[in-house]
């Protein structure tokens, strides 16, 4: 599965007094997206499913909503970051794919607006601060509709269990060695 290379500057975490010397979280699962925009909220829906699980071990689950950087800001250092987000993969709705940050579209900068402190900006800021998690993977889900709705489309809702499986497969200790991400 694609993984990002360890970033060179993670030692910055130790410098940051904001983290008050807290140990790094082994794994943080961050669901992001707008709950009001149909399938755009798939990451948040998935995070909510995981938040009520008690069998995840040393895993912190966050509902990042439409402020992913802010959600990360409150937890301190992170060893492995698994992001769940809607992604335009050019595939059928409900398609799931694990991506490295490098596979995401290059950041063209024009999305740095206030409504759009988006994933790529958040990651680039963490890199600039030397605080990007050593491992970052994005589990992207192809949306069917991002119209105004608090519900997932049937096509994406039907894949929710598969999305959770794909997310948890990114945690090596849990892994069965079997590649669980499938199109």
């Amino acid at each position: 599965m694609p993984r990002s290379e360890p970033s060179s500057g993670t030692g910055g975490l130790a410098r940051d007094t904001a983290t008050d010397g807290r140990a790094a979280h082994a794994t943080v699962i961050l669901g992001i997206g707008n709950l009001l925009r149909g399938d755009d909220g798939v990451g948040v829906h998935a995070a909510h499913e995981l938040l009520v699980r008690d069998d995840l071990g040393d895993v912190t689950v966050l509902d990042g909503g439409v402020a992913p950087l802010d959600a990360l800001a409150t937890v301190g250092p992170v060893q492995r970051l698994i992001i769940i987000d809607a992604a335009d993969l050019g595939e059928l709705p409900g398609t799931i794919r694990a991506l490295s940050p490098e596979e995401l579209a290059p950041h063209n900068g024009d999305s740095v607006s206030l409504h759009d402190l988006d994933l790529l900006w958040a990651l680039s800021v963490l890199q600039a601060m030397g605080q990007a998690p050593p491992e970052t993977v994005v589990v992207g889900v192809q949306p069917a509709s991002v119209d105004w709705s608090t519900e997932l489309s049937p096509a994406v809702a039907a894949r929710l269990d598969d999305i959770l499986e794909a997310v948890l497969a990114q945690i090596p200790a849990r892994g069965t060695g079997r590649e669980k991400v499938r199109p």
């Binding site: 992604a87 206030l114 759009d116």
Partner: protein, 518 residues
């Protein structure tokens, strides 16, 4: 490996603001602000449990959830009949949550969104000193990745290299200060973002000495940062770009609903004692109380049926009509006139009201910069007002924190009535926010919001009077239409809560440059 995968920014963008300028002989002759995306959340609320509004409206935006939650809670307080009985602890916790959001938002705007208009971050490339933040940024830039520092317009960077480098180091430090603000909000909000700690009737987190101490230590760090770093940086930028005290003036009328309740016995929010001053003021010195019944929204230039024009938000409709207009943003007017909202508006209203903290800070800054008080109504004045307000709110929060009483109640119980209505008026970081809610049969029958950016970036109204940002742009000299730095600086000084697409159009209306204000 598939390389061309896009996470389309539009997926998470609530709306893009488009600003079109007609430039003739190097001067902006006309300007049009448009919001090209339909805002559907008001309709989405109809038929729901009213108590959901406080949570759902927070999901609208990743930067302003705190104030939307606050405005919804105020509207619900009234609709549920508990607006006069919020316990002091609940009132103060709400203020601390909203205050934390003011701090992170103003820090974000100054350092991460606006500063790059004035600070040349490429100066970091030549850095070989010991500053850890700069070394980190330099290593990042050396890898050839310039985001998040691009795109930008070239030229017209006037600060000395050492000031530029200090500002980039502060860019990183400011991110850490935002983290502190988020942690502060999370202490009382229960989670970040999209907190759950404010509810109709008060707040949910109990008050303990531990929470007060945790909050206090973080606030102390932020206050030190604001005093020692942010205010001096703002003065340095303002001092190097004094011409921007004469650029981007906008209409001379200002609105503030105020915010941060000092009591809740008064149920009329325009009369409630709050921390900021409230009123409608002109730069000429006139000051009058806010009368919420004078707010109307016009839609001649918006994609809404013209029959819905000129309505008060309590009668407002969200009936799309693509045939008419060019924008999804309505044109709110106060007593028929466009008004500026935001930190500058609060500063003008506060100054004329004799608000002690506002006057002291403004007088100090005006004298340090050697500008006339009237010059604060400008691009640079908006930035100065925002930074000074950061200090004012941070200092006040330290006092509020000490007024909390551990063990005492934070909320009163609420019951959703068969029928009811409520008006939430509050100031957010970007300005005046109104939520109106109507309950029928225990469900939401109508929900309307008038948000700060609709005041500032509204299109022309039914009498074709331009909105505040449009007025600020008209008459501006643009030295280079390929590089319209003046326009983006003006637009950004309003801190619009939308992505901005700026189209510079020459007199033949050919688009000569299409750029985004970031």
């Amino acid at each position: 490996m598939q390389t061309n995968i896009t996470i389309d920014p539009l997926v998470r963008v609530e709306g893009h603001l488009k600003v079109e300028c007609i430039v003739e002989d190097g001067v902006v002759k006309d300007a049009n602000c448009s919001g090209p995306m339909f805002r559907g959340f008001e309709r989405l609320l109809i038929g729901r449990d009213p108590l959901d509004a406080q949570q759902i409206t927070q999901r609208v935006c990743g930067v302003c959830p705190a104030v939307h939650g606050m405005a919804a809670a105020l509207a619900l307080d009234e609709a549920l009949g508990v607006n006069a009985s919020i316990p002091d602890n609940g009132r103060i916790i709400r203020n601390l949550i909203l205050g934390s959001n003011f701090l992170q938002s103003h820090i974000l705007h100054f350092y991460h969104l606006a500063a790059l208009d004035y600070v040349d971050c490429t100066k970091v490339a030549g850095y070989d000193g010991p500053d850890e933040n700069l070394k980190s940024v330099k290593a990042f830039i050396d890898r050839g990745v310039l985001a998040p520092f691009v795109p930008r317009y070239e030229g017209d960077y006037r600060l000395p290299p050492e000031v530029d480098r200090a500002a980039v180091s502060h860019y990183v430090k400011a991110l850490m200060m935002r983290r502190k603000s988020h942690e502060m909000l999370a202490i009382w909000g229960g989670k970040m973002p999209h907190y759950v700690g404010i509810v109709p009737g008060g707040a949910t987190e109990s008050v303990t000495p531990d929470k007060i101490a945790n909050f206090m230590s973080r606030l102390a760090e932020i206050r030190t940062f604001v005093d020692d770093v942010m205010v001096p940086d703002a003065l340095a930028v303002a001092g190097a770009y004094t011409d921007y005290f004469a650029i981007g003036k906008g209409p001379g009328e200002f609105l503030s609903y105020s915010a941060f309740d000092r009591e809740t016995a008064q149920t009329d929010l325009t009369k409630r004692t709050r921390f900021f001053a409230t009123g409608v003021a002109t730069i000429g010195g006139a000051l009058s109380p806010v009368d919420a019944s004078k707010i109307r929204e016009y839609v001649k230039h918006s994609h809404f049926a013209d029959a819905t024009s000129g309505k008060h938000p309590s009668e407002g409709e969200t009936g799309p009509d693509m045939v008419t207009g060019h924008s999804w943003i309505k044109a709110p007017r106060y007593d028929g006139r466009p008004v500026q909202v935001g930190p500058l508006a609060r500063a003008v209203v506060g100054y004329l009201s004799g608000h002690a903290q506002t006057k002291a800070l403004a007088d100090t800054a005006i004298s340090a910069l050697g500008v006339a008080p009237e010059a604060m109504a400008s691009t640079m004045g908006r930035h100065a007002a925002r930074v000074l307000e950061t200090k004012m709110v941070a200092d006040a929060m330290a006092d509020w924190l000490l007024q909390l009483r551990p063990g005492e109640p934070t909320a009163v119980p609420v019951k959703v009535p068969e029928e009811g209505s409520g008006l939430g008026l509050v100031e957010g970081p970007r300005g005046s926010l109104l939520h109106y809610l109507d309950i029928q049969g225990h469900k939401i029958a109508r929900y309307q919001m008038v948000v700060p950016t609709t005041w500032n970036c509204s299109p022309k109204d039914d009498r074709d009077v331009p909105g505040p940002c449009e007025q600020a742009l008209i008459g501006t000299k643009v030295k280079d239409t390929e590089n319209p730095v003046e326009i983006v600086r003006i637009v950004r000084s309003f801190d619009p809560c939308l992505a901005c697409a700026v189209h510079v159009v020459n007199v033949r209306r050919d688009t000569v440059a299409k750029v985004r204000a970031v």
